[in-house]
Symmetry: none
Subunit: 212 residues, 4 copies
């Protein structure tokens, strides 16, 4: 229920979101009060409520913003001809983003959203659609690699893509907590994974389950 015309106010909305992001990254959604956003933005309560219907609406818009940024990262992968290198390229651009101050701040907000997704349907939709995109792209690349006989046919592209994405989500978590973080480690592991999928290797069957 923003009370102002959308076309004239895109800049104001961004201004508010920018301020809110700084606050949310610093304090989390629930510790951040509208007062904090007011102070950070230099605007007034009335103004903010002119552009966002409620605090929840602001959080939702924040989620969309994050979502847009992640989508931008992924599209970079499309240019590379070799599908496996394309996957590496996607990983690299993700890791670069994770190393930047700006990306880190946004991802701090992202972690809040991950938690929030457990109880807000709207945010849940954003967050999951945010991983479906990279999973789909990577799966597509794996399929192309299978057609080029670079990856074992037995591999399920969607499922494997999902595991790769998992790994990077976990790395982002650790990075946010200030744990030792070296992009090279992740790329090495990714290479091991990709190499392991090569059809030259022994067939990949169901995981061997040793009896306990």
């Amino acid at each position: 229920m923003p009370k102002v015309k959308p076309e004239t106010s895109a800049a104001r909305r961004d201004e508010i979101l920018e301020a809110a992001e700084i606050c949310f990254a610093r304090e989390g959604f629930h510790q951040t009060t509208i007062q904090h956003v007011i102070r950070q933005s230099g605007l007034s309560a009335g103004c903010i409520y002119g552009h966002f219907a409620s605090k929840d609406d602001l959080i939702r818009a924040m989620g969309e913003r994050r979502h847009a940024r992640d989508a931008a990262l992924i599209s970079l992968g499309d240019a590379t001809p070799d599908p496996l290198s394309a996957i590496r390229a996607i990983a690299r651009s993700f890791l670069e983003d994770l190393a930047s101050e700006d990306g880190l701040r946004m991802r701090r907000v992202g972690l809040q959203l991950w938690a929030e997704a457990l109880r807000s349907e709207a945010i849940h939709a954003q967050v999951t659609s945010g991983i479906h995109k990279p999973i789909a792209v990577i799966a597509q690349l794996l399929r192309r690699a299978q057609r080029l006989d670079l990856v074992n046919e037995a591999v399920d592209p969607e499922r494997f893509a999902r595991v790769i994405v998992s790994m990077f989500q976990g790395l982002a978590l650790q990075r946010l907590w200030g744990e030792p973080f070296d992009p090279a480690d992740a790329l090495q592991a990714l290479d091991v994974l990709i190499e392991g999928l090569s059809p030259r290797r022994s067939p990949i069957g169901p995981p061997r389950v040793e009896q306990a």
Copy 2:
């Protein structure tokens, strides 16, 4: 700060924590009010505050509880003689826990704690020490595997362990969001990783970084 004698109150504390866990898993820390915990536990405000100094203290205690549970999962791995199978065993017990109703509930709380770790030093310490344990155990197993010539000497055990843990953290996230989740996928990927570390394979050098 508990106002009751610590020795008489362990059962009551657990009772409160149990109720709080249900509330926190359902609503998150911040949407959960003490009233919710009161209703869930059937106790009174005064009683709860007799056992916990504040809501934050309750959250902190919740974190300790989670921590203890995770630590219990890990210690299972010690019995297995083959180090690589031991890693698989740890992964399997983690995945089983993730499939259980009870483990899922606790992990919903865990995700809140992951986010909370960004701004509470106490919770940050719990959360990171919660991953240092499995990283150390897995790294230790990788070192044993290296001595048995099952794993390439070039692999840094700590760093690789960290990546493995990342993957499982990401899987837990997706599981919590209700994404398709098949433990077999994770175990398969783990096998690919472990196989890829074998010394029979071409030496693992620095990750190949293609220039952009």
Copy 3:
């Protein structure tokens, strides 16, 4: 509504009152919680409520205790044959009490009671009856002095006694606030007052009111 037999429990009551006095002197009635009294006395909540019906009852009993002490001070004046010296003797014993650690503590409680008297009828009765006694004694002495022709007949004994008591109340206040306090000053002023009442002096008429 004490639930225990009065005769067996006088010592316990005193024990509780002693502890309460320490707390009340330190923190005031309202900042003092029953918990404080419990800690100070080493007894339990149930025990205290066995001897006093409520916190208010405890405060009321505290008032009675104070009252009893003040009454004890006054009775000392009776022995002196010269009425004006008797007044001085009363003043001196009051000032001595005010100099003692013990008397100071009780008077800290007394100040709380003075304030409390504004809204509790029971405490109001204690406090005013607490000054009626010294006023009556001093007035009686003044009357004896008048009969001995030591004090001007025009003086109203009751009213003058009241003013003398005022002065000592004010001194007690200042003493409690840690203001410079010298008993000699008060005794000197008292002497000036008493001397001024002498019939040898010019008649004491209605106070001269200068026009402003």
Copy 4:
């Protein structure tokens, strides 16, 4: 800590203080709840907390208000040329104030503050500085009187001023308790005191202390 701009809010602050004074005079600081002040003022909780940081802050501001009023009373004495008459004039204006409905209400609050001064350093400072002013003024007048040979040189002006102030504090107390109160009694006693200081009288030595 006020959350509203200080310049726009002086009137609102006064409105709140006015309401608070009525409540505090009626019920005391501790029995008065913020709800009472809300009802009395017709404002909301949020509004009150926009102008005062806490209930304690409100009490502190109340103390300042009282302080300002007392200071205003004293300054009246400056105009009178005869120093002893000036002291009488101060006394008279004090007694008039004590007779007014408004002054009585404020002094009921004042008595709470006297008690509160025992445990709040801020209020202690207010209360003592509130008596230092009249003591200083009266002492100054006594010094002038000494120079004019109206008062015995042996008198210590500060100390005697303090005793005079004591007397009026005590009278205020009794007035608040509803005890018989006649301003004329106080003025008469003051006259006796002042007369007694005259150099025509026998020298004022150290107070005669009879041995007990």
